[in-house]
Every structure is written in C-alpha cells, then in structure tokens.
Symmetry: D3
Subunit: 334 residues, 6 copies
Amino acid sequence: MSKVVTFGEVLMRIAPKGNKKLNQSNELEYYFGGTEANVAISLAQLGNQTQHVGVVSNDFVGEAAKKYLQQFGVNTSSISHSDHPLGLYFLEVGAVMRSSTISYNRSNSAFSHIDPNKIDWDTIFEDCSWFHWTGITPALSYNAYQALKKALTIANSKGITISTDPAYRSNLWNYGRDAKEILNELVELSTIFIGGPNEINELLDTSFSNHIDQFIESASRLMNTYKNIKKVFDKTRVSFNANWHKIKARMYNGNEFAETNEIEITPVIDRIGTGDAYAAGLIHGLMRFNDYKALEFANAACAVKHTIEGDANLATEKEILSIARGKLSGRIIR
Amino acid sequence: MSKVVTFGEVLMRIAPKGNKKLNQSNELEYYFGGTEANVAISLAQLGNQTQHVGVVSNDFVGEAAKKYLQQFGVNTSSISHSDHPLGLYFLEVGAVMRSSTISYNRSNSAFSHIDPNKIDWDTIFEDCSWFHWTGITPALSYNAYQALKKALTIANSKGITISTDPAYRSNLWNYGRDAKEILNELVELSTIFIGGPNEINELLDTSFSNHIDQFIESASRLMNTYKNIKKVFDKTRVSFNANWHKIKARMYNGNEFAETNEIEITPVIDRIGTGDAYAAGLIHGLMRFNDYKALEFANAACAVKHTIEGDANLATEKEILSIARGKLSGRIIR
Amino acid sequence: MSKVVTFGEVLMRIAPKGNKKLNQSNELEYYFGGTEANVAISLAQLGNQTQHVGVVSNDFVGEAAKKYLQQFGVNTSSISHSDHPLGLYFLEVGAVMRSSTISYNRSNSAFSHIDPNKIDWDTIFEDCSWFHWTGITPALSYNAYQALKKALTIANSKGITISTDPAYRSNLWNYGRDAKEILNELVELSTIFIGGPNEINELLDTSFSNHIDQFIESASRLMNTYKNIKKVFDKTRVSFNANWHKIKARMYNGNEFAETNEIEITPVIDRIGTGDAYAAGLIHGLMRFNDYKALEFANAACAVKHTIEGDANLATEKEILSIARGKLSGRIIR
Amino acid sequence: MSKVVTFGEVLMRIAPKGNKKLNQSNELEYYFGGTEANVAISLAQLGNQTQHVGVVSNDFVGEAAKKYLQQFGVNTSSISHSDHPLGLYFLEVGAVMRSSTISYNRSNSAFSHIDPNKIDWDTIFEDCSWFHWTGITPALSYNAYQALKKALTIANSKGITISTDPAYRSNLWNYGRDAKEILNELVELSTIFIGGPNEINELLDTSFSNHIDQFIESASRLMNTYKNIKKVFDKTRVSFNANWHKIKARMYNGNEFAETNEIEITPVIDRIGTGDAYAAGLIHGLMRFNDYKALEFANAACAVKHTIEGDANLATEKEILSIARGKLSGRIIR
Amino acid sequence: MSKVVTFGEVLMRIAPKGNKKLNQSNELEYYFGGTEANVAISLAQLGNQTQHVGVVSNDFVGEAAKKYLQQFGVNTSSISHSDHPLGLYFLEVGAVMRSSTISYNRSNSAFSHIDPNKIDWDTIFEDCSWFHWTGITPALSYNAYQALKKALTIANSKGITISTDPAYRSNLWNYGRDAKEILNELVELSTIFIGGPNEINELLDTSFSNHIDQFIESASRLMNTYKNIKKVFDKTRVSFNANWHKIKARMYNGNEFAETNEIEITPVIDRIGTGDAYAAGLIHGLMRFNDYKALEFANAACAVKHTIEGDANLATEKEILSIARGKLSGRIIR
Amino acid sequence: MSKVVTFGEVLMRIAPKGNKKLNQSNELEYYFGGTEANVAISLAQLGNQTQHVGVVSNDFVGEAAKKYLQQFGVNTSSISHSDHPLGLYFLEVGAVMRSSTISYNRSNSAFSHIDPNKIDWDTIFEDCSWFHWTGITPALSYNAYQALKKALTIANSKGITISTDPAYRSNLWNYGRDAKEILNELVELSTIFIGGPNEINELLDTSFSNHIDQFIESASRLMNTYKNIKKVFDKTRVSFNANWHKIKARMYNGNEFAETNEIEITPVIDRIGTGDAYAAGLIHGLMRFNDYKALEFANAACAVKHTIEGDANLATEKEILSIARGKLSGRIIR
C-alpha cells in the first residue's frame, strides 16, 4: 500500500482539566496535535501507511512530540529538529454558552523557522500516492509557505493526489504577504478541495450562501477556476451550544451532488480536531470507496471525533463504518 | 432481619479516566464489582443484612476486593482465597455514538476455579431468606455451574426465595456445555424471574416481541414452564445515544400486569451495573412493599445508578423512594 | 472608581471529584467561596474595586482563604483572624435526578464568633458606594447579626447603595432569635432587593405566586412596606433535572416591569454560586447601565456561572456582555 | 478470640498532595484516623476482632468514616451519629527541616458532644478482653471525660486489660478542668502504661531524664503510685530531620528491663500515627507473645508505619514479624 | 546498522500511586514492561534499531501495549495478537524496610499461549546482529520454551550474538518441566552470559560465593561448560533498605577481570527493570566499545534506571556516558 | 513600611509530575516563577510591601500569572500586557545522579519585547527603599537591558538600595551585545552584591578560588572596582547528588567576614529558586537585622526553599527564624 504524506506544524495543546480556568488548578493535561499531524495520526490509526514532515524543537518536548506520532505508526523520519521551541497552545475549555478559548505560542516556533531547502521531497514522495496540506501552513511564515509550495510542485509533477483544507485564519498571516494570493497559488496545485461556500468565498471573493444550490454553484465555480480540483467535499454544523451540535456533510464532484444524514452530538466531549477527523476520514474513504461512501465515512469520522479527547481522531475503521451505517445508540461492546 | 445471600465472581474494573482511550493516559481508576456483588453492595447500602459468597485471589488484590465489600457491611466470611488471580476487566468509556468497550480477563480467575465442595451452603443459608444468582455464574466454568446448582438445590429445599437475572452472554460459555440446557435447569429452581421477552426467548426458543401483550404472554408461558417462578419483572430501555436513555419497568405476577412511568436520563454518568441496581431495588422492595411499589422502587434504583460512578448502586433508600415518588428535579439538598 | 464592600463568611468547599461519593475516592478538590465573597470575587473579576470584610481562621487554612480572594484583587485588609476554624462544607455532586448533597461545618466557625466591635466600618466605608449583604450572615450567630446591623446603619447614614439577597435558610438560625423579625429590620435598611415572591412571602407572611402579575404586586407591596427599597430584581428557574435548567430574570422598579429572554443551560457544570453570580452581575450592571440592561447582564452572568467550576463567577465583562447580547453558541475563540 | 475495644474520636485528615502548601493546589487527599481508631484498624488488620466506640456526624462524612473502619473489619455498631460535624484536621506536610503543620477543627465535633449515658458499655464489653484509651479523649470535653471514666470503671470491674497512651496535649484541655488530676484518676484504672519518663513526669510532677536508669526508676515509681499498672512500654526517637529518624523501644515490667535494636528510617513517608502503630503492635504482641517479643513487634510495627500513607498502620502480622526479626533490606516480594 | 531482536512477554504494570496500598486509593498508574521488552525499549532509546517479538491480547490493551513500544521506535511488526489477555502484574510500592509486593496475572496470558510455529524467525533475523533472551520466557509455558529454542537454534546458525540473563524464578516454571535442564539447553546456545555466581550456581549446581576470586572461577567454569559462552558480565548490589542501594558491575571474558566503581543510589525512585537497564546498556556498549567501557556503561545505565519511573530505562546515551564518566552530582541542565 | 521593587520576566514552569519524563504521562503541573518575581513573592510572604514590574501576555495565561503574584500580595499594577506570549520553561525533574533538565521557550516572550519607554519608574520608585535585579534580565533582549539600565539610573539617583544577583548564563545573551560589558555597567549602579568568587571572576576576568581567603580578597577587589558596592553575600553548596546537598553562606562587608553553619538537606524536594530564596531572605534580613543575622536568615531561607514545591519560597518569617536558630529536626507543629 502506498503512503499518505502530511506536512505541517506539530503543536502541543496544554489545558487545565475539565472546565477549569487556568488559575483554578495547578494541574494541566497535554496532547500533541496540529491539523496536518492530526490527519496523519487518524490515517495511521485507520491502517494507512503515513509519513508526517515537519520540524520540532531540539529538546525533550520535541522528542516527546515525535514519540507521540510514532506510537500510532506515523513515520517521523522526515521530522527534523531545530533550536527554536515547539509551537504550543493553551486551552481553556468552555461549556454551554461559554466559549473555549485558545491562546497560541507559535510565532517563533521550530516549524515557522523551517528551512525549505532542507526537505528532500523527492525521497519523501517515493511510494506516496496522496499529499495533504492545509491553509495553516502557508500562514505561519514565509519559509513555511516556500517549503509547502515546493512540496506541491513536486507532488503535482509526480501525479500525486493532493487534498487541501485551505482554512483561512485571519489572525495568522503576519509575515507581510497576501493570504488570498498565496492560497490561490497553492489551491491551484491541488486536486481535492475540502471546504464549501465559506472557504470558496474567501478564495474567489464571492458571496455564496450555505444553501445547497449555492454550494453546488460555488463548487462548480471553484472547479472552473482551478482546473486541477476535481472534487469538493464540504461539512456543515449547527451549534445549539458548545456541547450540543448537529453535523452533516455534502459533496460535488462535477457530476454528482450528495449529502449525508445529519448526526446529533450531545454532549460534545472535545470539539478540537473534528475537521481534521473529517479530512482523514475522507482521504481514507476516497482511497477505498466511492465518493459518496467516502463522504459518509468522513462524516461519521468527524462525528466520532467529538467523543474523543485530544486533537486527533483515534477511532478505528470498524467503529467509523458502524457509525456511517447508522448505528448511533452507543451500546456497550463486551 | 434475615439476610440476603448472593453468589458470584467479584470483578475488578480498570479504566482510564473520563472518555480517554487507554493509551492516552498513564492513569487509571478502579472499582470492584461483578453483577452479584453489586446486588449485595446495593442491598447492604439500603440497610439489608447481606452475605456474598465467592472466591478471590490470595494476594493484595483479593484482599482489597474483600475490604471493598466490607466497607458497605457485606459479610465476606464465605469468600475464600485462591492462588489464581482475581477476574478483572478493562473499560474504555465511550460517549454519544461511540460505544464503551469492555475487555475481560476472567477465564482463568480465582472464581472460575472454585471448588464446589468447599462451600458450606447449609451454614451460609442459616437465617437467609433470599438468594440471588445470575446467568453469568454458570457461564464461567463447570465448577462455577456445579457450585451454583448445589446452592440452588439447598436453597430450594429450605424454601428460600430465589431471584435470578438469567442473562445469557454468548461470548462466555466456553467450557463445552450447552448454555440453554443449563440455564433451564437452574431457572427451574428459582422463584423470581428478572427479565422479559428477550431473556424468555433465549430460554424457551420463542420469539416474543417487546410489546406489552407479548410481555404478558411470554411471562405466562415462562411461569407455565417453570412452576416455581411466581413473578416476572422486566425493564426496558430506549437509548438515543450512550449518554441519553429512557427507562421503564414492568411486571406480571400471574394476575396483575403493571408498568412504571418512564424516567429520562441525560446525561448518563455510568451505564454499568444499572441492571444490578434494578435487581437489588427489586429484592429490597419485594421484602418490604407490594409488587407494584417494589417495581417502582426498582426502576428508581436503576435510574439513579446511571448517575453513580462505579459498578454498584450506592443510593440510599431515602433517595430512591424520593425518586420513585416522582421527584426528578435533582435540587441541591443542604 | 469607588468600591463595593461585601461582608460575610468565607467558606471552604471540599468535594470528591466528578460525581463520586466521598467514600469512592481519597481525592478531593476544594474552592473557597461563601455567598458574599463570591459576589466580591465576581465584581473584582469584572473590573470593580472591591473589599470583603470578615473573619478567617488563624492558621494556614485561613491564610489560603485570604490569598484566594487576593488573587482576584479583592481587598482583604479588613479580614481578621480568629482561633476558631474556618467554616467549611462538604459536597457530593449529584446528576440528573440525584441531588447534590451539602453538609456544613460552620456553626463554630471563625466568622460566627465575630466581634461586632472590632470592625472599623467608618474606615471601610470610605470611598465605598455600594454595600452588599445576604440573609445568611444574620442567620449564623447573634454576633454576626450585630455586626451586620451596625454596618447597615452606618452605610445607610452615608447614603451608600445597599443591596440584599435576603435568603432565608431554615436550617441556620439556631441562636434563638426570630429570623423574620431580624430580616425585616435589616431589609428596612437596604435599597436594592434581590428576590421575588418567594423571598417576599417569607418576609411579609404573604402568599404571592410566581406569576408575573403577582411578582409586580409583591414587589409593590415590598416597596410600600420598606420605603428604602427602590428596586426589586428577581430570577426564575425551571429545573428539568440537576444538569438541565432554564433561567430567566425580571425586575420591577416602581414604574417599569421587565423580563429577560430565557437561557437554556445543558449541561450544568456547577450549580453553586449562580445566585451570587446574578447579584454580582446586577451590581456591576446597575453601576454602569440602565436597569433593564443591568438585568440582562445579571441573567447572563448567572447563566455563564453554571459553566464555571467553583463557587464564584470568573467570567469577564466581555464574555457576559456577549452572552447578554444573545451569543449562546459557545464557538471556540482563538 | 475475644475482642479489643477502643474508644475515641474518629478524625478526618485533609491534606494537599506531596509537600505542597494548601494554596499551591486545589487538590487534597483525605484519610480517616484518630489515635484510638488507628489502633483499632491496625489490630483488625493484624487479625484481631476489634470494636471501636465513638460518635460521628449524621451526614455522608460520618457515613464514610464508618465505612472506612468497616473495610478493615472493625465493628462499628457502637458508633452513633450526631448532628454535630465530624472532627477533622488539615495537614501541610513538611520535609527536612520544615515541620509539618496540623490545624484542628474538632472543638465542636460530634465526638466532643458525646452523651456519656447513651453508651451501653456492659454490652460492648461482652467478650472483650482488652480496652485501649488515650489521653486525647478526656482532653476533648467534659462529656468525653465522663464517658471514658464510665468505660474504665466498668472495664476494670470486669477484669479487662486496660492499656493507655496518656498523651498530654496542652493545646487541648479547654473545658476548664485540670488535666493532671483527670489523667491521674484515669491512669489509676489502667493496667498497661504506654509511655516513658516524659509521660510519667507529666503525671507525677517528677523530672526523670530519658536515661535508661531513669526510665527504670520512673517506671517503678509509676507502678508504685498506681497499683493497677503492671507494665510500662516506652519508645524513643532520634530525629535528624523530618525525613530521617531512628527509633527504639524499651520496657520495664517490674522485674525485667529490655530494649530493642534501633531501626533507622529514611525516608519517612508518613510520620502520623506511628505511636498508634506502636500501641497496636504492643497489644497484638502482648495477647500472643512474651513481653520482650511483644516489644520487638511493637517497635517493628511502629517502624513500618513510617512507610505507610495515612493515619493507621496497614501492615500485616507477617510483614511486621519479618521486620522484628531484622529483615530491613526491603527487597521486592514477587 | 543491524538490529537487535528481543523476544518475550510484554507485561502491564498496574500500581497505586506513591507508596499507597491498593485499597487506599481508587487511582492507579500503569506502564508496559516485561524484561525483554524493557531491553528493547532502552536499546531503541539509545539509538539502536530494535525489534521485539511476542504476542499481545487482541483488544485495546494489547493495542496500547504495541503503541507503547512503537513510540520508542521498537519495531512491533512481529508482535501478533491472541484472544487470551495480556499478562499483567499489580504492584504495591514499599519503602525503607517495607518490601514492594508484586502479584502476577500472567499464567493464562496471550504470550504463554504462543504458537511456536507461527513465528517467522528467518525473516525476523534478517539484518539482525544480536538476539537477547532471559530465563523468564522458558519458565512461562512449554510453548514459550519451544518458541525460544527455535529462535536460539536459528540465531545460532546465523552467527548472531546471543545474550542471556538466565534468571531463574522458582515461582514460575509451573508446566511440569525441569527448569535447570531447559536453562542448560538454552544457555548452551548463547554467547554472552549476564549473571554471576548466583546464576551460575543455579545452572551448574555449584556453590560459588560472591567473592571476586569465586566470581572469576565460576565464570571460567561456566565458559568451560558452555563453549559458546565467551564473556560473563555480573552486577552486585548492597541494599541498606528499599530506598538506599549501592551497585557495582564486574566482568570476566576469559582473559581479563574488571570491576567498575560503586555508585550510591539514594533515594531509589523505581527499582523495577534495573537489571534490564544493565542488559540493554551492556548490549549497547558491546556493540560500540571495548568490554570494560561497555561494563561501565552498563553499570551507569543500571544506576540511572533507579531514578526513572516505569519498567524501562529511558535515559539517553549522552546521559549514561556522563554518569559512566563519574558525573554523579545531578546538577540541573538548562 | 517602604516597599521593595523587583523587575524581570515572569516565567511559567510546566513539568510532568514526580520524576516522570514528559512522554510518560499526559499530566503536567505548573507554577509561575522567574527569578525576580520569586524574590518579590518571598518578600511579600515575609510581610514586606512589594511591587513587581514586568510584562505578561495579553491572554488568560498572562492574567493567571498576575493573579498568581497577587495572591501573595505582590503589587502588579506595573505589570503590562503584550501580544507576545508569556515566557515559559519545561522541566523534567531528575533524581540522584540524573540531572533535571530545563528547556526554555522565552526568546520571543512578552517580556523580551518590553518597551523601555513605557515604564514610569518615577512613580514606581515612590515609597521604594529597595530595588532588586539579576543578570537574567539584561541577557534577554536589548529592550530589557535598556529598561533595566533606566531603572538603575533612576533608583540610584533616589538613593534606593540596589541588590543584584548578576548571574551570567551563557546560553542567553543572544542579541549581539557583550555580556560582561553590560553587566559591569549595571553592577556599577548597585550597592549589594549577591555572589562570590564565581560571579566576581566572570565580571572582573579574575580567577579567585572558593577558598575563604580568596572570597575575602575577591570581595575586596569587587568593592574597589565598583565603589557603590558596599557588601558581598555569597553562598556555597556541596551536591552529593540531586537529592542530597549541604549549603552554607558567607559575607564580607569591607570590615567583617562571617560564615554561617552548614545545613544538610536530604531529600531535596525542589531545587529551583533556592538562590532567589536566599536573595529574598537577605533583603528581608538586611532591612531588619544586622549583617550577620541577615546572612543566617538568608541561609535558612535558602535551606527551607529546598523543601517547598514551585519556584518561590513560601516560608514565613517565623519558620525561617526558627531554622536560622538551629531548629532542624522538623518536628510536627500542631
């Protein structure tokens, strides 16, 4: 089986337990994550060969981050070390109408100082059939953008499938370049678009609504604009409050529009990384199933991530398939 | 007051905290349980004199298990020690559509190696008015089956009330005997049947549905088949997801059918041992109240167990009576 | 900015973790609280200058209690030390239909032995524009009642706004005086009444219902009886179970009746101190906004407290304003 | 086997973890203890039939205290409930030259309000061969003193062996009676004295030193003064710092002086309850062995308690015998 | 670099925290270990390519065990799954003169049911230069013995270096075969002997003392008896108590005797796995250094393991080299 | 009483519990510290009025840092907020010969970006009699150096006593300036030198040994070079291993040399911040006692810090005085 390669910053999440605020306890929990690493971990957990490319700090924190990925079987041989610290974020977990709050410490991170010339993409892409990136990476630093661009160019030339979740986060992008220009340049090199009207509007300066018709129209527009993009996979969410959501997924592949059933999630155990779970589920599904079954698998993967602590989806293929088939009662398995 | 005797395996539950998967933390929590011990603990907590009969390991684990029962006042003088380890299970707690998963380590346990000839049932049954067993015990080993059969024969001869929850678990019963044949033999020696169409179908090879009429008909059929069985107490459950249930109980005693109100449970704190809480509530009720009030008490006991961590119901009689009377708002008591 | 002064017992809350019963774990968590101190902490967190007056034990427990208040910026210079222990309570947290249970250890506390002659109210009330008290304080001991009466008399003479939550707790009031007589005497010295038909009925021996018309009528009656009372702020709650509430607030200021929208709270993270959060929100609001906006702010403050562990509301003004404006979806803030 | 009865206050210990100060963590650990209850628990753990007499609070705290004793097999049927709170103490654990600090909250406790007329000593002393008391009990309240005096009178009349550790704690004894007068009265009714020159000096207003000769002389003087006292068992300790001690025990029974080897203890895990462990070891030993072997057993019991968390010694007879025989290397037992 | 292969049971350690006894807390900590897996982990941590061969349970426990090894980079591709449970042990950690106690639950484990015919040793030994085994494995079951024998025969035929720590544990070896006969057979197939007079006496029925001369003589005798054995590496320990040890190592390779300096260890943080740390250090050293430097490295590795929680040594080569060079002051590294 | 002002970076310490390595647990503990903030906290705890000047992040982490200082009564009104993250460090705690390891994440911190022109030193130094700085601050950034220089110039002009611990850390000082040149410039503005031959050698390029004569000579040389320096206070340490130290302090004030007794510390609970405890003890002492008594107080403060978890010394004046007077046995205080 050929491998999936992901590229991005490994982040450490540090949070007080439960719903405590930081000054309410001297105890913290941590997980390692980062959107692309989450995809790699989930794909490994689902049985795929995966490799994550990035940079971690040259200390016991970076070492622990690598071990974290290795335990799931993610190949870390192309994760290098740097004298800069590992990026991290602090989290206070909210509830009901109280929002969770995240505070990042990543602008000077090991990853943001990545040297684009020190990554041997040719070797990394041997036996690789899929490359996944997100809009976080080019937002972090010029170096990160350059490294990603190089990866995409080489991957493209090798005919590798390239999926992207081009999430635009306005409070990143602090190195003086135009986010849209860069994202356009990189999406153009990609083949699978994970997003919907919101993400498309950001790229194309359009104003599509979330209505189904508009979704299809926006996806068509996107595929017309970027000829490499072959399929568009979106997900939608209704949030009653921080602990009570409903999610659904939809797709358009040029010919066919499809939509999954809605899954109600109450209570939400961990909201973070649910989009990454969707992306990983989608990649796993598209490598094995038809588009619609892949979409259902991705939606079920996204749903079950809401019940799993930490940043990455640790559900197995069997668990997700069962949920995708509509088994939602959560009965004990003995 | 005469005592209630229970017989079965004391199990240790070991689980990561919260909704974590085992590899997400080096911390675990444990409880001691086991279906019949849970009944004994709950009955003791409700103010009854109880004695549990079984075998634990001859080490600090078995010692701790005995102490666990003793704290609630359960008489452990007929729990013997063996060189085999205490049975245990690992639990990963699910949420919403993600199932909890249980993995047992009990096939070589101290209890499964029980010596049927070393239990002095005659002494144990002095001052005993009630004996409770479940279908787990004869499923564990031939020895356990033999010990139980002996207990039932002697209890029967002494006119002791005998309740059974004849749960059939297909992944047990590995010692080469026919489950149904044995369960039939043992149910025949019992007087109170805790179960409904599902359990009756397993015993009688029938196919009753869960419909009320079918419940009554199945209970009648059961009582016709086993002349000792005088009353049938069932419980039903609707599971929206792992954290959101509705429960209800019903009975047929040959003359009278009755059904409790439904109780909605959200969020479920701990799903395990809720059936044992029902059985304990029922035994407690039938020793004190009329059948219908006992049923309501059992249903309330079952409901409140969903809010209590660990395997056994630790609610008091006062708490359960209040719930049985319809006080469900959970206001703080100062 | 002039300061708010609160007066009352600082209590220590001690509870097993999660929904455990005390004998299920050797681990406990603690918070410091007490209804008036909770108000002081919340007001400090909202940016107000606050001072709490009281007595703590002359040991490391009392020292830690003072540090707890100091961290939020509450001025503790008028908290004295006594050889009696700090008042405390044990809490077992219930769920669904199981009630939380509180057991107090405060009847011999440092605060109950307060010496009314040792508090220099004249100095304390310099630069003070608001004084807040509750019905707990005069219930604790004759000394506490005397100290409070003196405070109210002096505050009144200085034209300080005086708010009261005159909660009558029948299981306090053990020192042989008539609760109603005393509460009447003290409410008479106050200007803002935090309560509704229930509290008014207790004071006036009336029997108003919770209906809107009755609320207005009861508030009018109260204001007629106590000429100092200018405004009445009530809150109402529907409890489906211990984890699922709906709350709403209403007011009558002699001219105008108003009511907020209802806020649904599921799951409740911590029920304790929600009334104190309301009082603090109200005081904060009335010092800055018009009556209705203050009411909305108070209701939002009360709502968000249900999501915060511990006795005091730690939400910021920004968070509460956002909720008061109807943002209830709890989306992550990055 | 006839039983040992102990009488005294069950106390709850509440402490931050490790060497933390209270304000350094919101987490606490608790144990139940109290000097006489510690003796009862240790004796039960050593295989003796024991009964503890006392009063606990009428709430879940008192209930948990009883369960704590019951787990070890201590008979709690003569522990009554009261509306007053359970006595408790807070502990900050020191290290090296930093002292541990204890702050009590017991002056208004359930036990101090004991009703001397409500204890049925005649029934309690059936089948009892040994009664143990300490100087803490009469120091707590006049009621406690009266209850103890009654117990001693009845025990004496029944020829029960009565051991006492007449520890004089100057910061107790706040109810207006003369400590020495009362202790003299009570020691006179006892047969085994656990103490040495320090305790004897307090009782007899003498000034014996800790020198061996003085120990023998002081013990002789004591036995001359109180004709019931037949044996005196002392223990001595050298404390290099809070974590590094050496202990030794000695005895004089009128004829014979003996002294054990010294045991070095580094690091001390828990210093509290080591005297109670000594007393329990002694009682256990004297009921089975000769005086010297009992002394060695008591010293070993005291030593091993320094390695056990919580207030009571949980070591088994086998463990203590092995240490008494000089096995101090602490090799792993598999 | 060619790889090191280890073969044996992966065990789960479950223990209450600190020095608590099991019934003193509901909290546990776990680690995965097992003597051969510990060697593999330590070697991986030191930078070697390693592969562990064994069987784990077919559940989330076995899955977590594999992930545990994978995080350190140990190749787990030849660890198979079985329906039997993972072997485990409970540990209560002693202190000073109180022994730690271990209770095993492994006699029915996944590993003990290993199928000797299902291991493809030929493939496993490709690129392998070193194979390590211990006397635990053949003690567990006949199947385990057969599997090991096959491994040794094939390894031998390929000229692979074979190290053994032939620890004889009398309470294992319950399947009816003669321990010494089997151990002799297996040691004969090995080239590096990790042990000294104690182990040699067990094998050869001799009675050498621990004296240096006797060590050399015993090693000579061993090498004469088993012609494959080329070198003997021993370690000695003085235990003042459970927390205070001194260790030293010595060797004889036919020509040369050497001994390291003694290292004092106080306090011991974790005693378990220190022998495995020695073995791993030795293998690492012998693959890189001369015999004496390897011995010093092994002794330092053993020493530092006493400061590391869990079963495996996680120290790095740099840390161990620094200790081997005599840097014992433990100064903070910033 | 006039106040002490400190200036420097508030750092967050994040560490796994006990002696665990980061990847051995998902749980962490944190403290706030930083060398100058530690001095401020300790001085506040000792009863002094203190103010800390610095910059924290503009998020809940920075907010919690300020609350941490406020709880002890440190005035934080001159701590500003910045969009850069709070500096932090990860710690793995070693034992015996295994070193603790610290990894910093501070090079891009809020403090390092401090704006020297935004600090109103004139206001801050009102009512200030003592200013304390360390060599860490000018090492962090050019901005920090400039801010400090300004502070020293103004403090000097106001005749404020200025103490310095001019610790030179070679792995800081990354902004391109010469450490020695800058430290010389700043020490010149100071009056109390906390250091000895090591620190003096770094400043003066001398090579004094730690011998007493050399200490006196080096101190004289220092005082000759920097005419403002009036007194030199040194401390010395012998480290047997990470858990076992001996410390001693000495001074020279131009006329008088003095040295304290040695204090043995075993086991060390927390090594970090012991130098800061010394500095705080010294400042406290010099404001109240003669030089020698201040030295003894500082040495005792340093000693007791080794027993306190976290970065700052939380001992009280009473505790430290008792240790300074030689009470080292650590007996329980009730």
